[in-house]
């Protein structure tokens, strides 16, 4: 594991980044946020990797799940966008694609035409009990309906994987596991598969890392506002060649629920702060992104979100906002738009890097 040289907190810097060549991927809530970011700023990205995630604005699939819109979003997120009883109660890709077009026409996200030549990697494990495969299948349909070339979409539902990002680390959980830390050993690095699909002609991953893992102060990108539910620190892996001026691309890697560095598990409803430190940086250091990034002059950006449950913000599991918990007005949620506090923060980081 490479850490920053002297463990200090730095300000995120700027590098020689090729604009419009960035990409993004994520697991679970990170995957839902990946789709949101991809749509909101499609001009900035060449593609996206979605592991166990649903379509754009999935939480608004069925308005009458509850009398109040914000409650309906939560009900939708659980019972339509994660665990539908049957395929017929999975998200409606056609309706959500239409909603995406309307959102773009309203100027809230980039033009969906930007997606046409993008590359998309979508994965669902057949043993995933957290986000069912029926939901992820709708994500593929969603992208096809928005004009992404079918040949540019990789859809893999062939493995008996649980809800996880897959690695080849011996100490990671068995492949069909559906438990934190949601990092399972399947004998290959899924992060490498994602980046190889998004970018043609990548070199093999580095055996030994040359660069630095930077810890930067994230709060400047969301104004320190508690409703962002974002942590104080974010992380970025910068290869040495990039630090020395080589042209670079940026890949944003979004962790899932319960995977941020600052996540603390809850036991019987109480944070287990007596026995357990925060979760740590396992998603940042062991999922393989840094090794393939190092040999290909790719900066990997790891924004971090943390758990919050104070009555106003209900996000105890430290998930990215894909159902509206950060929105100021629940009747006019903005969690999916360029103005959303988390999307604005992440894009601000990308902008700072030079992407």
């Amino acid at each position: 594991m490479v850490t920053s040289a002297n463990a200090k907190v730095v300000q995120l810097g700027s590098y020689n980044v090729k604009k419009g060549q960035s990409s993004i991927s994520g697991l679970s809530s990170g995957a839902f946020m990946t789709v949101q970011m991809h749509l909101a700023h499609s001009a900035s990205f060449v593609g996206a990797g979605i592991i166990a995630g649903g379509p754009f604005r999935c939480a608004e699939t069925y308005r009458w799940a509850a009398p109040l819109a914000e409650d309906a979003n939560i009900e939708n997120s659980l019972y339509i966008c994660m665990n539908p009883l049957v395929p017929q109660t999975a998200p409606n890709a056609q309706r959500l694609a239409q909603l995406a077009r309307q959102t773009a026409e309203a100027g809230q996200i980039d033009d969906v035409a930007n997606l046409a030549d993008d590359r998309v990697y979508i994965f669902t494990g057949s043993q995933d009990e957290v986000v069912y495969s029926d939901v992820v299948a709708r994500t593929r349909k969603f992208y096809e309906l928005l004009g992404v070339e079918p040949d540019n979409i990789v859809y893999d539902d062939s493995l008996p994987a649980g809800h996880s990002i897959i690695t080849d680390n011996p100490e990671d959980s068995p492949l069909p596991t559906n438990q934190p830390p949601y990092i399972n050993n399947g004998g290959f690095m899924q992060s490498h598969e994602i980046l190889r699909h998004l970018y043609a002609g990548l070199k093999p991953p580095a055996e030994r890392l040359s660069g630095r893992l930077l810890r930067f102060d994230q709060t400047e990108f969301f104004g320190g506002e508690p409703r962002a539910s974002m942590s104080r620190f974010g992380y970025a892996y910068v290869p040495r060649a990039v630090e020395e001026g080589a042209p670079a691309r940026v890949h944003i890697a979004l962790h899932g629920c319960k995977q941020g560095y600052n996540y603390t598990d809850y036991v019987n409803g109480r944070a287990d702060i007596a026995n357990q430190p925060p979760y740590g940086n396992r998603y940042i250091t062991t999922t393989g992104y840094n090794h393939i990034a190092d040999s290909n002059d790719i900066i990997v950006l790891y924004p971090q979100v943390e758990g919050m449950d104070d009555g106003e913000i209900q996000n105890p599991d430290g998930c990215w906002d894909w159902w509206g918990y950060t929105s100021l007005d629940s009747r006019q949620p903005d969690y999916y738009s360029r103005d959303a506090i988390q999307i604005k923060a992440i894009h601000g980081m990308l902008d700072r890097l030079g992407g």
Binding site: Y62, L68, Y79, I80, P84, L85, V86
Partner: protein, 157 residues
């Protein structure tokens, strides 16, 4: 979130910024009322959704001759039965594990250890019941939301 106070020997590990018990009871006197309001609100929401589903079901009667409606309805019911079976299987598995743990309760070498181990079993039992109850209520919500969504799609197709 406050850390539960734990006293070991003569040294208390309680946080000294937490008010004393009598102060807390005074401050939290309104909590039962707040809980009652929350429960009432949630029941009201549940009733509203059930009423809305009833209206949708009444409208669906015009589609009763559609074999696809019947087919999908049976699929929904089968899915619910499967979920109930899975929950029941988890319940039996959990009970079996606890029974096994109880029968193999290792001899403790201090009274405090014995009390701890026995209380652990009680806590784990309580946890099993909590998980079952939460999952059952979750399944009920899942049925209500998915049924309403399914019917609304049929009516608008």
């Amino acid at each position: 979130m406050s850390r539960l106070p734990v006293t070991i020997g003569r040294r208390s590990l309680a946080r000294h910024d937490i008010p004393e018990f009598h102060e807390m009871t005074a401050k939290k006197a309104a909590a039962p009322l707040a809980h009652a309001v929350t429960t009432h609100t949630l029941l009201h929401k549940h009733s509203a959704r059930a009423f809305h589903n009833g209206v949708l079901t009444a409208a669906l009667t015009t589609h009763l001759m559609d074999p696809q409606i019947w087919n999908e309805s049976l699929q929904l019911q089968a899915a619910v039965m499967q979920r109930l079976q899975d929950q029941y299987r988890d319940w039996l598995k959990g009970c079996a594990i606890l029974m096994d743990d109880y029968s193999q309760l290792r001899q403790a070498n201090t009274m405090s250890k014995l009390v701890e181990k026995q209380c652990n079993l009680v806590t784990q039992w309580s946890q099993l019941v909590t998980v079952q109850a939460t999952n059952l209520v979750g399944l009920m919500e899942n049925i209500e939301v998915d049924y309403g969504y399914w019917v609304s799609q049929k009516l608008h197709s």
